[in-house]
């Protein structure tokens, strides 16, 4: 039966972490594309302050972790104090991406009985300058309950006062119900669609589900666009990138 069943998703990111191209090749056209995304998200928060942003997608392996980590890095590089939270309690990846230990994390905060938690005990501060990372922590059996708990709300209010931007890497919205719950608490949601993989019906349903939660959808990011492929990629990112490179040479 496996003959006609397409393999869904990969474990690549879970094993090796997301690719931090904005750190590895900051002058590459792709890093420039992430900076464009950062700028566009900034523009979205002109009227209403957008402090907590969640990145999600319809299904797994569409690039949430890669996009959220890279956007967080570009924001940190722009001088904002950024906290990146791994809220995907089913397939956490951030500890792999930033090569951190996942002994304590989000679930530690949510399951703790203590009234006061010292942030510096759970958050990996300044993994790169200005960017702090809160890993998922040990994976619980009841993530949905944890994420919808009152403690989560309180935690959210707390961290958003400490940081300029809080970025959540969420579980896919169609597959895991906690995402919808968490999405309702966010200032804004960014949908990640992967070209040629994300189903039209899937992303449509994801939008519907987010509309139910009354969450503001900031927009979408088309991921994994192959230039020269069908669709209308045109590869304009390259133009930007080369321009940037020339500028730095001149400087």
């Amino acid at each position: 039966m496996a003959l006609f069943k397409k393999k869904r998703g990969t474990n690549e990111t879970m094993k090796h972490g997301a690719k931090l191209i904005t750190l590895a090749k900051p002058k590459s056209p792709i890093a420039e594309q992430f900076r464009t995304i950062r700028t566009n998200i900034n523009f979205m928060s002109v009227d209403e302050k957008v402090k907590t942003i969640a990145f999600t997608s319809a299904n797994i392996s569409e690039g949430k972790s890669t996009v959220s980590a890279n956007v967080a890095i570009t924001m940190a590089q722009a001088g904002k104090k950024v906290l990146l939270i791994d809220a995907d309690l089913h397939r956490p990846t951030m500890h792999q991406t930033f090569e951190l230990r996942n002994v304590v994390g989000l679930t530690t905060v949510l399951t703790s009985e203590a009234d006061e938690i010292y942030m510096n005990q759970v958050v990996n501060a300044d993994v790169i300058p200005n960017l702090s990372v809160l890993t998922s922590g040990p994976i619980p059996p009841n993530p949905a309950e944890l994420l919808s708990s009152k403690r989560m709300k309180a935690f959210l209010e707390n961290v958003s006062s400490h940081y300029d931007v809080v970025i959540f890497d969420m579980a896919p919205i169609l597959e895991i119900s906690d995402s919808q719950i968490l999405a309702g608490e966010m200032d804004g949601i960014v949908l990640v669609a992967r070209q040629g993989v994300t189903q039209k019906a899937g992303i449509k349903r994801a939008v519907e589900m987010l509309e139910i939660t009354k969450t503001r959808i900031l927009g979408y990011i088309m991921n994994d666009v192959r230039t020269g492929a069908d669709g209308y990629g045109y590869g304009y990112g390259y133009g930007y990138g080369y321009g940037y490179e020339q500028d730095t040479k001149k400087a």
Binding site: P129, K200, G228, Y232
Partner: protein, 289 residues
């Protein structure tokens, strides 16, 4: 007018899309086209039993009338008669004879001669020379063809306003086609005077060794190429039509009304990139400062 413009626009987009699809799958198009072309060539060359055909040309001319006034009419009559000859050639009368000849192809070198007698003065008839049988010579290989099979193998082509008609035989070897064409032509020449009272049948040109008439390798190869190309295009278009994934900004931005925050091009970063190395570098730098 506006509607027309819209239609034209969507049409041109479709063409553009088709072209893009084609470019994207150019490799599979080439593989299909060349692959089926090669298969077509191989089938024509090796799989199908080739057939060879060979032709003899026959002229039937009635020499009776030498009157110049009647000549034209006679000629016309001859031309019209060709259809009759055509039917006769493929009739059992001729084909049975040809079949017999093919089974035992002999050529008479010297005709049989009767014994010669001389009646002497004494009134006794004496044999001067004994009767001699005809001297025959084997004329090529013998082939086993029934009249029915010959009927299928032989065809007659005529040309308008020509008294010459062409007899073509098709067989599985060049030699066989030659033998059949010649045997049938000869049988016709031999038998027709008795049947139709025609006194002048000339075999203008005897059949030579057959040439390959089927399969046409070029045609098969070309057919394979064209078929491969069509199949490849059909597969590409079908797969594209059945693809329900998001591929254009158009769907997300126009139909779902989402804002396009940006695009991330496909990239590959080797797993060897490690964050900690960077961190160490950073730390060292900090220390120096």
């Amino acid at each position: 007018m506006e509607n027309n413009n819209n239609a034209a626009q969507s049409n041109s987009i479709d063409l553009l899309r088709l072209w893009r699809l084609f470019k994207q799958h150019i490799l599979s198009v080439i593989i299909w086209t060349v692959g089926l072309g090669i298969i077509g060539f191989a089938v024509a060359e090796f799989a199908i039993q080739p057939k060879y055909s060979s032709s003899a040309q026959i002229l039937v001319n009635q020499k009776k009338d030498r009157d110049p006034n009647a000549l034209y009419n006679a000629q016309q009559a001859d031309v019209q008669m060709i259809n009759t000859y055509k039917d006769i050639i493929t009739s059992p009368v001729i084909l049975n004879d040809a079949s017999k000849y093919l089974a035992n192809p002999v050529k008479v070198v010297k005709k049989a001669q009767k014994a010669k007698y001389v009646v002497g003065a004494d009134g006794v008839r004496r044999r001067v020379r004994a009767a001699q049988p005809a001297v025959t010579e084997r004329d090529g290989q013998s082939y086993d063809y029934s009249a029915k099979e010959l009927n299928k193998a032989v065809s007659v082509q005529t040309q308008q306003n020509s008294q010459v008609f062409t007899l073509t035989a098709t067989a599985i070897t060049p030699d066989q086609s030659k033998a059949i064409a010649n045997a049938v032509a000869n049988s016709f020449k031999k038998k027709i005077p008795k049947i139709m009272n025609v006194n002048n049948v000339t075999i203008v040109s005897h059949a030579s060794k057959g040439v390959k008439s089927f399969p046409n390798t070029k045609l098969f190869t070309l057919g394979g190429l064209v078929l491969g190309f069509i199949i490849a295009i059909a597969i590409i278009i079908t797969r594209d039509a059945m693809n329900t994934t998001v591929r254009e900004d158009d769907y997300l931005s126009n139909e779902l009304g989402l804002t396009n925050l940006g695009t991330v091009t496909h990239f590959n970063l080797s797993n060897s990139f490690s964050l900690n190395k960077d961190k160490n570098k950073g730390n060292r730098r900090n220390k120096r400062v």
